[in-house]
Structures are given as structure tokens and as C-alpha cells.
Amino acid sequence: MDNPAAMVEQNLLLLLALAPFAGALLLTTLPRQAERRAALFSGLTMLASLGLLAGMAKSIASDNVLTVDIDWIPTLGLSLSLRVDGFVWLFATLVMIIGLLIVVYAGFYMKGKDRLPRFFGLLLTFTGAMQGILLSGNLIMLVVFWELTSLMSFLLIGFWHGSAAARDGARTALVLTASGGVCLLFAMLLIGQVAGSYQLDEVLKAGPEIQAHPYYGIILALFLIGAFTKSAQVPFHFWLPGAMAAPTPVSAFLHSATMVKAGIFLLVRFFPVLGGTELWFFAVTGIGMLTMTVGAVVALFRHDLKGLLAYSTISHLGLITALAGIGSTGAITAAIFHICNHAVFKASLFMVAGIIDHETGTRDMRRLGGLFRVMPITGSLAIVASAAMAGVPLLNGFLSKELFLAETVAWHNGTWLDDSLPYIAVVASAFSVAYSLRFVMSVFFGPLAKDLPKSPHEPAAWMRRPVELLVLICVLVGILPALTLGPSINAAARAVFGDDLPYYDIAIWHGINAPLLLSLVAFGVGILLYTTMARGIAAGPEGPPLLHRLRGQKLYDQVMLRGTWIWPRRALGWLSTDSLQPQLRLVVLVAFIVAFGSLWRNFHLAETLRQTAPSPGFALMWLVGGACAIGAAWQAKYHRFAALVMLGGAGVVTCLTFAWFSAPDLAVTQLLVEIITTTLLLLGLRWLPNRREEILRDTLMPARVRRGRDLFIAICSGMGITAIAYAIMTRPRIPNVGDWFLANAYHSGGGTNVVNVILVDFRAFDTFGEITVLAIVGLTVYALLRRFRPASESIDAPEQQSGNIANRLDDYLFVPSTIMIWMFPILIVVSAYFFFRGHDLPGGGFAAGVTMAIAFLLQYLATNVKWVEARLTVLPIHWMGIGLLIAVGTGIGSWIFGFPFMTAHARYVTLPLIGDVPFATALIFDLGVFALVVGATVLMLIAIAHQSLRAARMREQEEEASKEANKKKETPVWN
């Protein structure tokens, strides 16, 4: 299709698919008070969509199929494709018309405190998702939209999330429909595999292949579970009544034209692919008829208006499902017709129920009555709509029901189910007449209800307009079917079956025939049922006698309770522990066993050991280092400070080792980090409790056994690591990627310090990830400490700051602190020095950043928090943010020059006073690293340092409180 008209239509189609989402996005930007604007925007979006659909109408009427294909991941065969034919067009128009009316209705129904922009945003997204199901030309895309409707309906049903019923209803709906969606996904994947394509056009042609395939049974089962959960077919129907906790406009939308109809849409759409077999007939028609009957029977016994409508919806969905199961051309036409009719009258009835609820404050039919006197217009509308629901002649419901009855009577395949269809249909119809009667009679007639929560009167005119329009449609379609819906229905049926389908004339009068007689019987029985049972029902429980005890909801609740709460917790009780030590022990043991197991029998040393000449200095150094490590382990419990000093000793020896074996960068960084870590731990020591030496249990036998076991594990692990380290270190060196880095660092990285070049150029992306981690840790530390409350015994000022000692220590550490203050500019220079030489000589962003952080830290140590912050404004979060931005910016900068992300460019520039400086874009990246390291480190240190302020504040508060308490005691009481 290369002609301009086709291009225009394709663009219309794209716009149509995007419009609701764009509208929803716009709505999210509105403030929560903008209620009118929110309603207006969403109404306009729906109107625009209707306009777009109207723009396609002409082309659709001549049986064109409009498609748009956009390649998304061509290598995987994934494309975004949209597709509109007559069926989809009719359905989408229905969704948009009802949607528009719902928006008008909701604009008056929802209250100001309900955050309307959010509500309409969700509603539009839901509409977009529903429309996405209809428009999808690709199976996978269809499933994605399918799940999106489940998600959005979850949010809509639970919109009043303050109420437990809404939350439960929303959760049940989500669990059921989303699990159905998973089944559908598998079904679609299998269909795609069997048909060889995921494009709907291809799949629709592949019906015979799929039905002949051995997987047909499983495909059908999965597919039907998906469709039935969505369309609330027995036994998955119970989520629908639960979803009645939603705001009424949502119920009116979800349960008339959308959500539940999605399943029906799928059944009709895929009838040519999967349908027509005996299996399909029994499963779909059988479940459909069962649902229709159960729904109709239960509906009669519900006292809640919306509950009645919910079960009535289930029943009507069953009817349509049954038609889809029969699958003759007449049945599918009837199904499409009834989809429209049901949407129209059910939406209007839900709106009426909402109006009644809104005006009287209750939906309980036992409390309502005689409302016709105070709400004559609403009452008349409700009566017409209920009559359509019951299938009274001259209304739309009658026509589609006649078609349905005609199909049940017609011969299809002569099985027992086929033969019994008319009887089941009459029973269900009778009940539907009875519940429609009950709806009208108990609400609008009889004595006027007293003591209602509100005094009822007609609603705002605009709240009624949508109902009026819908009822008008009921009547118009009912009287003039051939002029109104006839052509569209036929176009839709042709889209499902193919172009050569004969035109199906929908007429009001077919003469006196079997369907009409069945209808009359149903009316007679229905009226009889209601008149004899009305009293009994009102006095009875919420549901049919006996049957109300057997409810899917209860079963589901039990399964959920056991499956997601009781059993998992029991399993957790067996398999896990809250205690940290056993977990860590397990980690160490597993690591040890895995290493030991894989090295067992494979462990051997190299034939000629690579040995470096031993040096006594080095040995001596590690004698001290090892002693420090063991000492720290020994003393960490009772002598924390000593342990900390020894930890530092081990760290310094590690640092010297790096220097010894040609890793100056590591040595510098390790030394600086060592300083920071030690300071941090020193700051932390202040908040730990005093340790009493004489904990009795420590000396008991079990404690000794535990310690002995842990010591054994530790020694074995240590020996294992030693063995592995020795075995590898003594192997000859093999050429590796490092050689490439060495050879190319200067040539293509522009720096002579290979380690730095790797970090900021060759593997800059890794470094970027790593500094991001650092930023996250910094923020986490900050966030955790914001809520921190020190333990009560740590609140008191430390000994050095309290009492007489404080006076004596006025000049506490005077000389060192003066020196530390003076060090500030010097450290900044050192930091700059590290930074600029980094690319060529040991140093770099990390080292410079930590040095800079130490400069700040020294200021805090030398004086106190208040002194520093009165003179220095440190904004660590800004440092971090700017650092990250610089790093990303450098990476993105390479895109501008047409290189991949984080490609670096290198050259030397001459700066005044400093001389030749290696200036690579990597240097800018390193600047980002620097800024981020400064920010994150300082943020953590400051966060911990500020705890002392908080403790001081708490101390002051306590003192004040005690002072006031004393005052009260001292004040004499005169009365």
C-alpha cells in the first residue's frame, strides 16, 4: 500500500494506538486539584480516538484491513504491528463510546478527594491497553497489552485503596487474570511455533495446521484458561463480584465494554484458528452455558445492586461464550451483536446503580424501595435498561437473545450438549427475567424506603446524560437494527470469517417460531419465579440456598492463604534461620567444600616453581602483619580499640606489599582508604556498648565447643587459601589480556600509567558502574542515619567533655588541631597533584578523591561539626551528582563525535604554570570519578559525625525536660 490515502490511514492507526497513553501521560502532569481539566482532557482524548476511528470507517466498511508494521527487533522476528479490520473497528468504537460516557459520568460521580487526575490517568491507560489488545497485529504484543489491562484493572479496582474490600478485590482480580495471562502467553508462544509466525495475519490463516498438530489440546487448554479467567467464566468467575468494590464508573467500564470482553474478543478472534472442533465445542459452549446458568441463578439471590449486576454480567458473558463455542456463522454474528448490546445496557445499569448509591447512600435492595416516586426519570431509564437485559421485545437485548435462542435450537453436531442447549437456555433466560424484575421492583416500586442514609432525589443532569444516551441506543437498536448496527455487525462477522460471508439481516420479526416461543416460556417462568420467591429471597442469605456456601472465593482464599502464607512460612521455618552466624558459617563451609571438591586430586604445583628471591625484610614485615591480624582477631571482643589499631597495622603491611610488588597505585589508594576506614571505625566505636569481661556463658562448655569449631573452620579455610595462592603464584606467567593493555596504553589510551588508563579509558564503563555503586552506598548510609536514634546509654557526653575535666581540657589537642586546620589547603594541593599525574604516574581520580575527603575529615576532627559547618559549606550530594553527570556526560560526549559510548580521546595540552598535562577525555571522566569519590566519602563521614550532634540535642532535650519537671515540683500549688 504505497498510495497516500493508505499512508494517512496508517498514521491514523498509529495515532489511535498512542492517543490514550499520550493522554494519560499528560494527566500525570496535572496537579491533584485539577479535576475539571482532568475530566476534560480524558474526554477529549476519547473523542479524538473516536474521530480517528471515524476517519477509518469508510475504508473498513469496504472490508479493508489496515496494518502498520514497525520493525522492532528484526533479528528476533519481533515487530510492532497494528491491525484493524471490521471486527476490531466495531469493538474499538464501542470501547471508546462507552469510555467517553464513563468519563462524563465519572466527572460527576467521583468526589474531589479522590485525586481525579490519577483516576483518569489510570482509566486512559486502561483504555489504551484494552485498545492495544484489539489493535495488536502480533501475538506477543497482544499478550503484553493483555497483561497491561490486568495491571491497570488492579489499580482501578483498588482505586479506593483505603478499603480492605477494594484491596482484596483488586488482588484477586490481578492474581486470576494475570495468571490467566501467563497461560495465554504460553498458548501464544506455542501457536507462534506451530504456525511459524507471530503475526496475527499469518496465524489466522494457519487454523488447519494448528488443529492437526499434536499440541492442539494443550494449546487450546492454555488459551481457554487465559480467555476464561479474563471473561469471568466458571470456575474463575468469582473475581468479578469481588471487583465490585471498585468505584462504580470503573465497574461500569470494566464489566460492560472492556476487560471481561477482552476474553470474549479473543474467543471470537481465534475461532477460525482454534475453533470448530468437538473439543472446542464442548469446552467453550459447555463452560459458557454453565456460566450463563450459574450467573443468572446467583444474580437473583444477591441483595447488593452491583452484586446482582456482576452476576448478571457473568451470565451474559457465559451466553456470548456459548455462542463462540457453537461457532456457526450465525452464532458468531449473534455473539458480536450481543457484545455490543450487553455493553450498552449493562453500562447504563451500572451507572444507574451508581446513581442510586450516590443519592441514597446504599445499594442494598432490601433497604431500597419506591424510588420511582422521587426519581422518576432515573427510574424510567432503569426500567428500559433492565427490560433490555431481560430481553423484552423492541429493545436491543431481545434481538441478540432471539439470535442466541435460534442458535440453540438449530442442529449443529447432534451431541447431548447440542441437544440440551435449548433447555439450559430457557432456564437461564427465565432466571435473567426474574433478576431483572427483582432489580426494578425492589428498587423503584413498593413503599418508599425510610431511614436511608441520604434523602433521595434526581441526580445532577449531567450524571444522567450518559445513561439517557445509552438507553436511547438500546431503543434505537431494538427498533431499527438493520439501519443502526446491521452493517457494522456484518462487517465484523466478515472480518472474522472472510469476505464471502452472506449478508446477515437482523430483523425484529421472524414470525412465530421456536425462539419466540422459548422467549415467551422464559418470560412466563421468570415472572412466576419472581412473584413466588420475592419474599423468600429478601429474607434469605446473600446467594442461592445451599449453593451460597459453596463459593469459589472461599476456595481461592484458602489456596492463597496456604500457598502464599502458611506453607511458605512453614518452609521458611524449616529451611532458614534469622540468625546470622549459621548463615555465614554455611557460606564459608560451602565455599570451602566447593573449592576443596573441585581441587581434590587435581591440585598440583607447577613443575618448575617460579620463585622470587626471599627477602628477610619482607618476611619480617609479614611477621608483624600476621601478628597484627591474629591480634585483631583475638582482641576484637573486649579491646576494640586495640583491635582497631592492629587492623590498621595489618592494613599498612598490605599496603607495603602492594608497593613492594610494583603496584604503586594500589599502595597509594590502600593507604588513603586505610586512613578513612580507621577514622570511620573510630567514630563508630563511640556508639557501641561497654563490654563486660565476665560473661558467664563464655566460659561454659558449649561456647568453647562453638569457638573450637569456628577456629577449626577458619584455620582449614586459611590453609586452603594459602595452598591455592602458592600454587598459582609459582606457576609461570602466561600471556594474557594485560599484555595488550600494556602495549596499547600509551598508544591508544594516551597515558603511561596503565592501571589508570584501564580504569578511565579501556574499562571506563566498569569504573562508571563502580562509582555508581559508591554513590548508592553513600546515599544509603545517609538515609539510614537520618532515622538513627542512639542507644540510651550512649547519649551522655563522653567523659572528656563533661564535668571538671572539660574545663581542664579547654585547649584539648590545641597544637594538633591547629596543624590539621592548616593542612586543609595543602591537602587540596596534594589532591590536585594526585589527580593530574594520575594518567601517567601513580595517582588518579580515586586517590585524589580520597585525599580530598581526608582534607575535609581533618577539619571535622580538628574542631567540631558546628565550627566546620559555620565556615565551610560542603554539599556532598552535589559533589556526587555532578561527578556522576560528568562521567556520563563524557561517555555520551563520544556519541556526538560518532564513537561508541565512553570512547576516549587523548592529547597533551600545556597549562600555564603546570606545563604539559596529559589531556584526555578520560581525564574529564576521571574528574567525575574524583568528584563522586569526594562526595560519597564525605557524605558518609559527615553522616556519622552528625550523630554526635543528634546525641547532644537529645541530651539537651532530656535536661530541659528534667528541668521543667523540677520547676513543676518547686512551684507551690495555691488552690
Binding site: L580, Q581, A613, S662, L681, A745
Partner: protein, 115 residues
């Protein structure tokens, strides 16, 4: 040299592991520090020990990789040092928070028979 260093790694690791199995949070934090020294040294030593040949290149000309220390483990360890500092800080804060919230410095948040 190799023997000394691998022995040292073992001693650091054993001390660290023993400490992380202890019940007091301060012991665990010191243990983690020691363990991170051990692991950093271990990774570093995977590039073999080459004294006196830091990976600083001449400006231009042919480079013989065998004359220099392996830069890859060094780059790995450099980032590891910074990250282990970050995790130590995080753990310290959790330790302080735990102490403030539960009133004990036992790793489980409550005093238990396990000493």
C-alpha cells in the same frame, strides 16, 4: 617470597573468617576488613609477583609486556579497595543503627545463648 605472601594471605583470611563467625558486630566488621585484605592480596597475587617493575610505560616505542607487572589484577584490586571501603562504611552504619534500635551489638539484634 611467594611462600611468605601466600602464608600471609592464609593468616589474614583465617583471622577474618574466625571473626566473621563471631556474634558481636564489631568483631564481624573487623573480620570483614581482614578478609578483604586477604582477598585483595589474593587477587593481586594472581598476576604473579614482580618486584621493581610497575606498569608505567615509556612514552612511545616498543613495549615488552614481560618486563612489567600485570596491570589487570591491579586495576581490579584498585576498584575492590574502594568498594570494600564503601561496604565497610555501610556495615558500620547498619551496626550503629542496630545498636540504637535494639540496644545490643549482637549480630542477630538480640542477646542469645550463642556467645
Amino acid at each position: 617470597m611467594e611462600l611468605i605472601l601466600s602464608g600471609a594471605i592464609g593468616v589474614l583470611a583465617a583471622s577474618g573468617i574466625w571473626l566473621i563467625l563471631r556474634p558481636r558486630s564489631f568483631q564481624v566488621i573487623v573480620g570483614l576488613c581482614l578478609l578483604s585484605y586477604a582477598v585483595n592480596l589474593f587477587i593481586f597475587s594472581m598476576g604473579r609477583l614482580t618486584p621493581g617493575a610497575p606498569p608505567i610505560m615509556p612514552k612511545g616505542g616498543f613495549v615488552d609486556p614481560t618486563l612489567y607487572a600485570d596491570p589487570v589484577p591491579q586495576a581490579l584490586v584498585l576498584t575492590a579497595i574502594v568498594i570494600s571501603f564503601a561496604t565497610t562504611a555501610l556495615f558500620l552504619v547498619v551496626l550503629i543503627g542496630l545498636r540504637g534500635l535494639t540496644g545490643t551489638d549482637h549480630v542477630n539484634g538480640k542477646e542469645k545463648s550463642e556467645a
